[in-house]
Amino acid sequence: MVLAYPFLALLHSIYSLVIFSISFCRHITRPTPSALNATRGRLPKHLSIIFVSDADFDERTNEYCIMKSIFRAISWCQQLGIPQLSVYDVEGIILNNVETIREGVVPESPFKDSEFDRRHIHYPPTPPSSDYSESRPLSPQEDVSGGHIPFLTLCVPPLQSASRASKNPQSLTLNVLSREASKPAIASVARAIARTQRRNSKFNAKDRGFKLSVNNLESYLEGKNGLAPPDFMIIHPVHPSKYHRSPIGLHGYPPWQIRLTEIYCNRFRKQYEARLMWFLPSHVSSTLLSSSFTEWEFREALDQFASAEFRLGK
């Protein structure tokens, strides 16, 4: 086994050369994506963006890049008429800065109508109330353990230019997610269902055992008080990978909702500049190499979504 190490190092060196050649060729021949407002066969109705920050780098830089990316994404979604946008990061950076987002997307005038400036706080979805009169429906506070809020929803008013041009300007629903909306939310729903079942079984001696269907659980997690599944997901690493291409990972995004979600990740972001990471101090490379989500990447992502084929098992 010890003799294999030098050969393994050689193999990695050859792989590096091969990847460098292929990515260089790809870089110089990469097609320019269609314009933002170009007609595409399909646009997502619900777009989700996962922001991946690197804990080794400056927190302020991470925050700045993520916030800038979110404001850009909101603007592009509004231009294209994408009705719903979810943003997620595993560290909760976005959730900590949600006031900044709210102040940035709510204009000063003339939309002071509360219909356009609403902030919804969504608690974990509760099961429907029991049919038995002796039981009482669960209230949201009973299901929130430790005061966790699974996700926030903001209603972003339409752009002023769009509202003048269109008879029915659409507002954008912005969901701000953290890891609490992921597996912990499913566990929370499980606890709530168990409580209801325990209450019901005390009044129904003939209860033959508990059964839970996929549709039932889906109604809790994706229904009226749940999180809708995104059609399309963009994974945006704030910093490029230190070893060639950024790995694709979901970083704890809610698993139930991503069954049929198309995934895009620009794995070649700043891959050549990433070499500088090894030589520069981290605070310098953090500033130099971090970047927000660009329009070019957004257009390329939309092109990928438009060309994807869905067979749904058939």
């Binding site: 021949t29 606890r191 694709i248 994807a308 749904l312």
Partner: protein, 295 residues
């Protein structure tokens, strides 16, 4: 536009190299040496494959869809042997989705027959699973299968029950949402069992994400956390495969190759990238540890 350059690389470098090796009859030796070298570095504990592209592969070659699935089975054997030689302890494959019952009846029948015959072949004495000490788990809602397939599944699992070196999860007919729902259902049934009516901590409050994780079909049967998920045929979706397991700490790899064509040269880059991520993460962890000690 990058495709011509990749094609040039393949035509003038890789394929001639492969042709030379074949002519010298040392392909098998070279492949085994390559795997031995790779196995010297970090190796993932659990790799999942979404075996997609059999039908498009068949259409592209002018074959019947059933032949495409047959070639897909050969690819499964090939990739499984590669994984076992690399000492990957657990391999999961998405063989048949619950949604796949919507396909034309002729295709579904052919797939059932393929499953019935090939399961027994894999588990028979001297074949792949016995040679490498692999335990077969068929994960999914098998009650949806015809009785003959259910019998074949039972027999195949019994044949490999005593094996303990590796695990092969054949997910059929499978849906991750079905797996998660069953796990939640089992958790709830467990906490509501009469034996749990005691005065100390309410067992319902003990239901956590770890509890649900431990009740997943694949985890209950010994699967470690999923490290790598590979989807072939260029599709960039998960399509209801191991959503709970791969939403965290799993590298996703989307390969443009159709599953029947998937082989060593498609899998080696995935392992090399995994090794780099492990080395880099370990270096990062070591540096963070040394910083904290120096404070």
């Amino acid at each position: 536009m990058a495709k011509p350059f990749t094609l040039v690389f393949l035509l003038y470098i890789l394929y001639p190299f492969q042709w030379i090796l074949t002519k010298l009859r040392i392909t098998r030796l070279a492949q085994r040496s390559l795997l031995h070298i790779l196995a010297a570095g970090p190796i993932p504990g659990h790799v999942g494959f979404v075996m997609d592209g059999n039908r498009r592969y068949a259409r592209g070659k002018g074959k019947l869809v059933q032949e495409g699935h047959g070639d897909g089975y050969l690819a499964l054997r090939r990739v499984l042997e590669i994984c076992l030689r690399l000492n990957i302890r657990c391999v999961s494959v998405y063989a048949f989705a619950i949604d796949n019952f919507k396909r034309p009846q002729e295709e579904v029948t052919a797939l059932m027959q393929l499953a019935e015959s090939k399961l027994m072949e894999l588990c028979s004495h001297g074949d792949l699973l016995q040679e490498y000490g692999v335990k077969l788990n068929v994960i999914g809602r098998r009650s949806l299968f015809p009785e003959s397939v259910q019998t074949a599944v039972r027999k195949a699992e019994e044949l490999t029950e005593g094996n303990n070196r590796s695990i092969l999860n054949v997910c059929m007919p499978y849906s991750s949402r079905d797996e998660m729902t069953t796990a939640v259902e089992d958790c709830i049934r467990e906490v509501l069992a009469p034996a749990n009516d005691f005065m100390s901590n309410d067992p319902i409050e003990e239901i956590s994400e770890d509890t649900i994780d431990s009740h997943l079909m694949s985890v209950k049967r010994g699967s470690p956390p999923l490290d790598i998920l590979v989807r072939t045929s260029g599709v960039k979706r998960l399509s209801d495969f191991m959503l709970w397991q791969c939403c965290e700490n799993t590298q996703l790899h989307f390969s443009n190759t159709y599953w029947p064509d998937f082989g060593l040269f498609d899998f080696v880059p995935i392992i090399l990238e995994w090794q780099r991520s492990v080395w880099f993460h370990r270096q990062n962890v070591w540096l963070r540890g040394s910083d904290s000690r120096n404070r």
